[in-house]
């Protein structure tokens, strides 16, 4: 009986520890996970005349439904995109985040979009900060 209790307590402790670690991982800032190589990438389309208008159309087609036309989010689960955090993020950070998404929190992965279109969205997001 005692052994069973010890085993049960042990399992409970392991479970609680795992939940705490997992919770902390989920709550930690996603930008902290951007690999250094990705963080340092510059937007290869930056400065091209068509990058921002093309990015605006892509934003309208893919992002606006959640983040709204003014990029201020829905005030609930869909976050604004005009934030200090985004302003200070590198192009590489934003492209990486678009590619990865945040599936747990409802942000889909946009890895299926051609890479050039992700960079065009990055150019548009930069232009509205």
């Amino acid at each position: 009986m005692t052994k069973k209790r010890i085993l049960l307590a042990g399992l409970l402790a392991v479970g609680l520890l795992s939940a705490t670690v997992a919770g902390a991982a989920v709550l930690s800032d996603r930008w902290d996970h951007v690999p250094a190589r990705e963080h340092g990438r510059a937007n290869p389309l930056a400065g091209r005349a068509e990058a921002v208008p093309a990015g605006a159309m892509l934003y309208r087609d893919h992002c606006q439904q959640c983040h709204k036309a003014d990029a201020q989010g829905d005030g609930h689960k869909k976050p604004p995109l005009r934030t200090d955090r985004l302003r200070t993020a590198t192009d590489g950070d934003i492209e990486w985040f678009l590619r990865q998404g945040d599936l747990r929190r409802g942000m889909p992965s946009w890895s299926g979009l051609p890479e050039a279109q992700r960079w065009q969205i990055v150019a548009y997001l930069r232009s509205i900060q």
């Binding site: 093309a54 159309m57 087609d61 599936l103 992965s109």
Partner: protein, 298 residues
């Protein structure tokens, strides 16, 4: 006669579904696969409606057109749920509803990797008259599609299906491999099959202007699929295999049109099967039932 019926059925379905919604769009990252699945899931809260029509003619039987209407909902970022309603019309025979399927796709890994696994679980409640060819498994062959509807509809296919989907997005290519195991829940052995495909957009960067025939609106590729026998006869004898070029066209109104001519590679396969798909997406349909603050609308 059959062509007219199929056309009318497609138009009626499409018109009916389009009339349900005011604004529609579809995602440019959706691939024009008909049988193969990639790891792209539906965006959370969105509903995609798609018709998948297969047109074929088995040896010794009339031409047929079979349509599956698919309702795909993004439950979570990592979980998509779907309902299929199937029907078919056969020349000099009848038109009938052939059943439904419910499927769920789950991404167990939350990050993007070189190879991204997706677990797929499906329950099918269809009759033997179903000809949509949404998958080919076991020793499926054109003989299964040739019987008169009055007889084949009596066969009840009460099946569970599992798929392991592996998919990669590399340098604008999508490469996907599916491994299929299907079991009739009443009897019969496990049946196995496969589907593989690859797609690539004609142009990777967007032009930044509204256009209909821009290269960026087209995705091309190919898929191959077929049966791998069953647990009673794990051989490739009497199995069907197909190879099918694909083209997907993003239409200006937001819908997506897909087309694929498929070619049978073995004697058991249909010589040709033509597929047409029409898809559109209803964004954030979940907000129709919830207020912006998250409560249920009164």
């Amino acid at each position: 006669m059959l062509k007219n019926r199929c056309l009318i059925a497609i138009l009626v379905w499409s018109g009916f579904l389009l009339s349900l919604v005011g604004s529609v769009r579809s995602s440019a990252q959706d691939k024009p696969y008909f049988v193969t699945y990639s790891h792209d899931l539906e965006e959370p809260g969105n509903l995609e409606v798609e018709t998948k029509t297969a047109l074929g003619r088995p040896d010794g039987s009339g031409k047929y057109g079979a349509t599956a209407v698919e309702f795909e909902y993004g439950v979570r970022g990592w979980w998509t749920s779907e309902l299929y309603l199937d029907g078919q019309a056969t020349s000099q025979d009848s038109t009938l509803f052939t059943g439904f399927r419910i499927e769920n796709r789950i991404r167990p890994l939350m990050r993007e990797h070189w190879i991204n696994p997706v677990l797929y679980v499906e329950y099918e409640n269809i009759s033997g008259a179903d000809k949509t060819l949404l998958e080919v498994v076991g020793h499926d062959g054109q003989g299964d599609l040739a019987g008169p509807n009055s007889e084949s509809r009596r066969e009840h296919e009460h099946e569970g299906e599992l798929k392991l989907i592996l998919s990669s997005n590399v340098k604008n290519w999508n490469v996907s491999e599916n491994f299929i195991a299907e079991k009739n829940l009443g009897h019969d052995p496990w049946e196995f099959g496969y589907a593989v495909g690859a797609t690539h957009p004609l142009r990777s960067a967007a032009s930044g202007r509204e256009c209909t025939l821009c290269a960026e609106n087209f995705i091309v590729g190919a898929e191959a699929y077929g049966g791998l026998g069953d647990t009673w006869s794990l051989t490739l004898g009497d199995t069907s295999h197909y190879v099918a070029p694909l083209v997907g066209w993003q239409l200006p109104g937001g819908a997506r049109l897909s087309f694929s001519p498929g070619f049978g590679l073995t004697g058991s396969s249909l010589a040709r099967v033509y597929r047409v798909g029409l898809a559109f997406e209803v964004p954030q349909i979940s907000t129709w039932f919830h207020s912006e603050k998250g409560g249920i609308k009164e």
